[in-house]
C-alpha cells in the first residue's frame, strides 16, 4: 500500500492575529462578558441543583427495567432469551418453563436482571419480540448497599410493569380461537 502524504497548509494569519495579544484580548472580552453576566445575574447558568431540583427525564429515558403483562395479568415474556442473548453485559438470567395454558406454552419461571451489572444499553428492549421488557419506568437505577438487592427478580420487575396489548408479530386482526 502506497503511503500518500497530504500537505495541509498552515492557516494564513495576519500580523494582527499573529501578534497574539489582540486575540487574547478578544478571548478575554468573551470570557469576561460571561463572567460579569453570571456574577451579577446568573442568567446563563445552566446547572440544575440536583437533589433539590430534579430534571424531568426525556420520554425515551432508559430507567429500571420492567416486565409487562398481558390483559389477564400474566407475564408477557415468553422466555425466548432474545434479551439475554442480546445483552452485552450478560446480566439477564432466564429459566424457561412450560405453562399450563397451552396458548401461552412457555413462560419464564425465573427472570432475574442484575441491575448492577446492567450497562443500561437498552439492547434487551430492542431485542424483545413480545414487548415484554421495557426500560421506560423512568426510575433512575439507585445505588445498592448490598449486591443481592441489585438482583431484580420477576415479581419486582412485574411490579413496575404495566399491561401491554401489542400483538405478537404485529397487528393481527381477529385471531381465531384454538380447536
Amino acid at each position: 500500500m502506497a503511503v500518500t502524504v497530504t500537505k495541509i497548509p498552515r492557516p494564513d494569519r495576519s500580523l494582527w492575529v499573529q501578534s497574539y495579544v489582540p486575540e487574547v484580548m478578544r478571548g478575554l472580552s468573551i470570557t469576561s462578558k460571561q463572567f460579569f453576566k453570571n456574577l451579577f445575574t446568573k442568567k446563563d447558568v445552566v446547572t440544575i441543583q440536583y437533589p433539590e431540583v430534579k430534571r424531568d427525564y426525556p420520554e425515551r429515558y432508559r430507567g429500571l427495567h420492567r416486565l409487562m403483562y398481558r390483559d389477564d395479568g400474566q407475564v408477557r415474556c415468553v422466555a425466548c432469551m432474545c434479551c439475554s442473548t442480546a445483552c452485552p453485559a450478560n446480566c439477564i438470567h432466564i429459566e424457561a418453563a412450560e405453562h399450563d395454558d397451552t396458548s401461552i406454552e412457555k413462560y419464564p419461571a425465573v427472570f432475574v436482571i442484575d441491575e448492577l451489572r446492567c450497562i443500561v444499553c437498552g439492547m434487551c428492549v430492542e431485542a424483545c419480540p413480545c414487548d415484554a421488557i421495557r426500560m421506560d419506568s423512568g426510575i433512575h437505577t439507585h445505588p445498592f448497599y448490598e449486591r443481592d438487592t441489585a438482583f431484580f427478580d420477576k415479581p419486582a420487575l412485574l411490579e413496575l410493569g404495566g399491561p401491554s396489548v401489542a400483538h405478537q408479530g404485529g397487528d393481527m386482526k381477529g385471531v381465531q380461537g384454538h380447536h
Binding site: 478571548g27 478575554l28 460571561q34 463572567f35 453570571n38 456574577l39 447558568v45 446547572t47
Partner: protein
C-alpha cells in the same frame, strides 16, 4: 532594637497571615472555582456548609466553606510516599516550594514610609518635613528590592525540580524537568523586561519605584509602568505567569500527559502546601506587577495630604493622613486582586501551549522583544 524586631515580626505576620495567605488560598480558590464556573455558565462549588456556626445554617456562602473543607480533608488524608522515593527530600520539598513564595513578600511596599511629621507635596512627591520616616508598610525596604525578588524566584525552581526528582516516578521527573526548563527560560525575559522600568525609575527599590509612579505626565497622566513601558508589562505578565506555572503555561503539571507533574506523588498536607505555594506565588505576581506597572499603592492624584490635580503645592481636596493610608493600601489590594483576576481570566480563556511553543515564546519572542524594549528605552532615557 527590640521594638524593631517586634515590628518586623508584626509586619511579617500581617503580610503573610493577613494578606498573602488569605488572598492566596481564599481568592485563588474562589478565583479558580467560582470564577471559572461563571465563565463556563456553571454555579461552581456551593455544597459545603458552615452549619456548625449558628445562624449560618444551610447558606452556601458562595462556596467559601469549600476551602475550609478542603483543608480539613487534606489534613486527614494519608500521606503516601512512593516506594523508592527519597524520603528526606520528599518531606522537605513542600517547604522548599512554599518558602520562596512567602519570602518574596518581604520587599513589597504596601504604602510609602510612614511620616511622623508634616507632609509637603512637591513635584508629585510626599516630602516629610519636621519628622522622621518610618518603614511600617513593607517588611524590608531593600535598595536592591527587585534583585532580591529575582534571586528568590530563581530559588523557587528547586522546589519543583526536587519534588519531581524525589518522588521516584517518571511523571514527576518529567514534570520537574519541564518546570525547571520553563522557569529558567522565562526568568531571562522577566528580568530583561523590567530592566527598562529600572532604567526609567533609576532605582531597584520597589517603594521608590512606586513613589516615582506618582508623577503625572503633562500634569494629568499618571506615570505608571504600564504607561511608560506597555510592552514590558505584557512581557512581564506573560513571563510571570510562566514562572508560576499557571495555565496556559501549566506544562509542568500537564494533567493530560503527566497526571499532575512534579507533585503527582504528593498527598495530604504536603500536596496542600505545594498547592498553596503556587497560589501564594500567583498572588505575589499580582502584587509585584501592581507595584512595578500599576503604580503600587498610588491612587491617581492622591498624595500625602489629599488630592492634587496637577503639580500644585496645595491639595485640591484635603484628606487626613490615615485616610490617605487606607485609600492607598486599598488601592494596592485592589490592583493586586485585579491582576490576580486577570491571571485567572487568562487561565480560563487560553488553551494550553505545547511545550515547544512555550519554549519558542520564551526564547524567540519574549527575549528579543524585551531586549528591543530595553534598547529603545535606553535610547529614549538617554535622549531625554
Amino acid at each position: 532594637m527590640l521594638t524593631d524586631i517586634l515590628l518586623i515580626l508584626l509586619k511579617i505576620v500581617a503580610v503573610v497571615l493577613l494578606f498573602a495567605m488569605p488572598i492566596g488560598s481564599l481568592m485563588t480558590l474562589l478565583g479558580d472555582r467560582k470564577q471559572s464556573s461563571m465563565i463556563q455558565n456553571r454555579v461552581g462549588p456551593n455544597r459545603a456548609r458552615l452549619s456548625i456556626i449558628p445562624g449560618l445554617g444551610r447558606l452556601p456562602l458562595v462556596g467559601i466553606p469549600h476551602f475550609l473543607a478542603d483543608g480539613l480533608k487534606m489534613i486527614f488524608k494519608e500521606d503516601a510516599i512512593p516506594d523508592g522515593a527519597d524520603r528526606t527530600w520528599h518531606n522537605i520539598v513542600p517547604a522548599m516550594a512554599l518558602f520562596p513564595a512567602i519570602v518574596m513578600w518581604a520587599v513589597i511596599p504596601f504604602h510609602d514610609h510612614y511620616c511622623t511629621g508634616e507632609i509637603v507635596v512637591q513635584n508629585y512627591r510626599d516630602i516629610c518635613v519636621e519628622g522622621q520616616t518610618r518603614n511600617f508598610f513593607s517588611i524590608a525596604n531593600l535598595d536592591a528590592g527587585l534583585l532580591y525578588v529575582f534571586a528568590i524566584s530563581g530559588v523557587s525552581v528547586y522546589g519543583a525540580a526536587i519534588a519531581g526528582w524525589a518522588s521516584n516516578a517518571k511523571y514527576s521527573l518529567i514534570g520537574g524537568l519541564r518546570s525547571s526548563a520553563q522557569m529558567i527560560s522565562y526568568e531571562v525575559s522577566m528580568a530583561l523586561s523590567v530592566a527598562g522600568a529600572i532604567l526609567i525609575y533609576g532605582t531597584l527599590n520597589l517603594n521608590e519605584m512606586v513613589v516615582q509612579q506618582g508623577h503625572l505626565i503633562g500634569g494629568w497622566l499618571p506615570m505608571w509602568g504600564i504607561v511608560v513601558q506597555p510592552l514590558a508589562f505584557f512581557i512581564f505578565l506573560g513571563a510571570m505567569m510562566a514562572e508560576t506555572k499557571r495555565a496556559p503555561f501549566d506544562m509542568p503539571e500537564g494533567e493530560s500527559e503527566i497526571v499532575a507533574g512534579y507533585f503527582t506523588e504528593f498527598s495530604s498536607m504536603k500536596f496542600a502546601v505545594i498547592q498553596l505555594s503556587e497560589y501564594v506565588a500567583t498572588v505575589f505576581v499580582g502584587a509585584l506587577i501592581a507595584t512595578i506597572f500599576l503604580g503600587g499603592w498610588q491612587v491617581p492624584y492622591l498624595y500625602g495630604d489629599g488630592f492634587h490635580f496637577g503639580n500644585t503645592p496645595t491639595a485640591a481636596l484635603e484628606l487626613p493622613y490615615w485616610a490617605v493610608i487606607a485609600l492607598r493600601i486599598g488601592a494596592f489590594s485592589f490592583k493586586t486582586i485585579f491582576i490576580l483576576w486577570l491571571q485567572f481570566m487568562l487561565r480560563w480563556t487560553l488553551p494550553r501551549f505545547r511545550y515547544d511553543q512555550v519554549m519558542n515564546l520564551g526564547w524567540k519572542i519574549f527575549l528579543p522583544l524585551s531586549l528591543a524594549n530595553l534598547v529603545i528605552t535606553a535610547f529614549v532615557v538617554a535622549i531625554l
